[in-house]
Subunit: 293 residues, 2 copies
């Protein structure tokens, strides 16, 4: 996917911020690009200190208040960033009549949708109110993983077998809209990421090795892929320095992420952590049968 | 699959016993069928008290000693039962020259095989020494799940959506030889079973609900299926009273297992626990689109 830096527009950029380090990172990077981002921190999710930015704290389902903030601040572009751990319940959703008329599937989606369906619904609701939803990587250049090694270490032929096993599992999970990550050790997938997230999955792998239920003689690889059908404007898989630290604690040899469809947060710290711990971090193509260089 | 009770033979039955309650249960049931089973308790795996049975404790990879025991005891049928948590490393394997000649793929399998490949290899090695490998359900009648409810509660239409989501995920995992279980809540798969096992996955779901990362307003279903390509003589998915207790602790509505290809251990206790906690336990067909009755 080509990453084009968007032309400056007359309107203001909003960042709807969930949990984790990503939203603050995106906001700071956007400021360095000359933007003056307005932050909508999601209550019960956003955990960064937003005192240095214009911001409002709103409930995730309160589209009426979010639309009002968009109008008051002249928002024309919106980035969704960070994790939303608590899925909105239909009782929490306050759509406007205008957005609800445009998005009749909203209730059905909230009742039965996977993460992708909920995200698409949120994006439809936002766009129904007039702003455009764009990806964080369209605001912050250099956020996407490139193909090849990130850092000084690279994978061995043994790791390649784990990468392939992890790709097969992550693809199957992604097609089912279940998750994005898997850990393979010795060519065998030992852990699959569900709602618990990558950090918890890596902690589980560390426990499995400590218990002897997975051989600690073999290292293994974390693979994170974008779901095949995923809207790239939201919820791209991401890794950061804590992911590298979790992989090191699990005794893994490295991390493989989908080039062009995964975010590398705090890249200098990722590289520094990976180099120090001897782990590789590799951008891969989903269907690559050749070893990336 | 038709379950035929095997005709009595002149030889003795051996049970190669891994971890958990299943092997002892099978041994006692076999004795009730008039067998005098000889137990090979796997060192570092078997955790039951085998003092009431003729038994030997041997290392999982020590096929030379296992073959010798077969010959000394006149073993003609072997049941593999219980979990093998620690996969044998190639350094632990001591095949005989005779078995190794018949099973040239042994080293390759140990290096790269999934659970199924390792099991098939173990069965090939055993059969190369002259005994026949049979399923636990061929010795113990009534061990397989039947189709329909086991216990007094049954599933609702809401549960059916979770069952279908769980079947799709468990099928995908099984095809990849990764695992047999998944938990779906509100139509969405939230946890997938890897090397950690069902009990640990259920504990994770309980945590996800306690954290609010998964809504605790919806209940959910545990689905366990046999892997599509699985040899039914070994490692059929199983549930027991502790599975029901774990599902109850995770706030689930019930458990669905594959009829004819999953074991229900201690069935009276499973029924009693399920009835008391209000959970359904249901035997399902893998591809059933109709609601089982």
């Amino acid at each position: 996917m080509a990453v084009s830096h968007l032309p400056r527009t007359s309107g203001r950029l909003a960042i709807i911020a969930g949990a984790g380090a990503l939203p603050h990172h995106v906001a700071e990077a956007a400021r360095r690009q000359g933007e003056d981002p307005f932050i909508i921190a999601l209550s019960r999710e956003a955990d960064a200190d937003w005192s240095g930015f214009d911001h409002a704290t709103l409930a995730i389902g309160d589209f009426a208040a979010i639309s009002k903030a968009f109008a008051a601040e002249g928002i024309d572009r919106v980035v969704l960033s960070g994790a939303v751990r608590r899925r909105p319940d239909w009782r929490d959703i306050r759509p406007t009549l205008k957005t609800l008329a445009k998005v009749p599937s909203v209730l059905r989606t909230l009742v039965s949708g996977g993460d992708d369906a909920v995200l698409r619904m949120a994006m439809d609701l936002i766009e129904a109110s007039g702003a455009r939803v764009i990806g964080a990587h369209e605001v912050v250049p250099g956020l996407l993983a490139d193909i090849g090694p990130i850092g000084e270490h690279t994978s061995t032929d043994d790791d390649l077998r784990d990468i392939e096993a992890g790709i097969a599992a992550a693809n199957a999970l992604g097609t089912l809209d279940v998750g994005q990550g898997a850990v393979a050790i010795g060519g065998r997938v030992v852990a699959l990421e569900g709602a618990e997230g990558t950090d918890a999955m890596l902690a589980r792998v560390a426990e499995l090795k400590a218990d002897g239920r997975v051989s600690s003689r073999r290292r293994g690889v974390l693979v994170k892929l974008c779901k095949p059908q995923q809207d790239e404007r939201a919820d791209l898989p991401s890794i950061g320095p804590s992911t590298v630290a979790g992989a090191e604690a699990a005794g893994l040899a490295g991390i493989a992420v989908e080039a062009g469809r995964a975010l590398v947060l705090e890249r200098p710290a990722v590289i520094e952590t990976a180099n120090r711990s001897g782990l590789f971090v590799l951008g891969i193509e989903r269907n690559a049968r050749e070893r990336p260089r």
